[in-house]
Amino acid sequence: MGSVTNWVAEKLAEDEQHLKVVGRTPEEFLVIESEDSYIFLVAVLGVQDVVQVSHVQPLFGGVNKPQLVVNVPSKALWSGSAIDFVHSAPSAFGTMGDIARAAATKAANSFRDKSMGFFINAMEQHTNVSAVSYLYDSVFRVDRRNGASLTVAVIDAYNMSAEDVRNARTRVGHFDVIVKSSSYGSITAQAWATAESMGAQALTFGELMKRLSR
């Protein structure tokens, strides 16, 4: 964990996010201070593929508990069980870019990705949805009152391309629906066809809401 923690500390020192690393705990968590004097602890993981509960559990066994857990590389996935564990601590998870966003909340342990939060709320409030749970950080199992459960992958894209669909399949495996996080922009015909070839659907947010009913 040491070298990746050092790497994040160096990156924070280089950039202009107005954050300072003011110390380290005995657990090697970074003590970070924002320019408005908000101080919080960040644990850094260096998991290459999927962050599991076994990676995050030890972070919460010591005297100091991190308010935020970030993983490098940002391409790695977070498993649903690891996310649930971190949230129940209570703490937050994310990437290095989320450190500044979490600092801005002044309650880093309650930080949540805005676009995912929007999707989770919208799906949970749907009249035909009984439960929404994380499978990965951007993939959800949506249990419906009528109809089978759906696996919904959310991609952070303005325009959804065929590559976005293939990349999601490579990273997270099966999904029934792939939806883009932005309400604006387009889904290309190639993205739609690629999803269909996988037995899935590429949908906008509005189309997803209709799909949850059927």
Partner: protein, 97 residues
């Protein structure tokens, strides 16, 4: 995988806050237009989103996809890089006897 080896004939477009020179930009929005699906897939593998000073928000589209949705106009993007085709040099067999 080397980026140079897979990036031939691509066009790189910046859009969003960095392209508008916003002082508080929180991420880098980059679209890369590719000549084929395979090239888009290889570039996704080759590009490290953690290598830049700000988080990278990367979109990979084929030129055909980008043209149909008029991505450059809609995103008000700026071309920052236009790469020439990669030229391959065949090894010349040795003439030593």
């Amino acid at each position: 995988m080397s980026l140079g080896a897979v990036a031939g004939e691509t066009e790189w477009h910046l859009f969003g806050s960095v392209n508008r020179d916003c002082p508080d930009a929180s991420d880098i929005d980059l679209m890369i237009f590719c000549k084929s699906d395979a090239q888009a897939d290889m570039l996704r593998q080759a590009i490290d989103p953690d290598s830049l000073s700000l988080p990278l928000h990367l979109s990979l589209l084929t030129f055909e996809e980008a043209a149909v949705i008029d991505a450059t106009s809609v995103q008000q993007s700026t071309v920052v890089l236009r790469l020439a085709p990669i030229t391959t040099t065949k090894a010349i067999p040795s003439t030593d006897t």
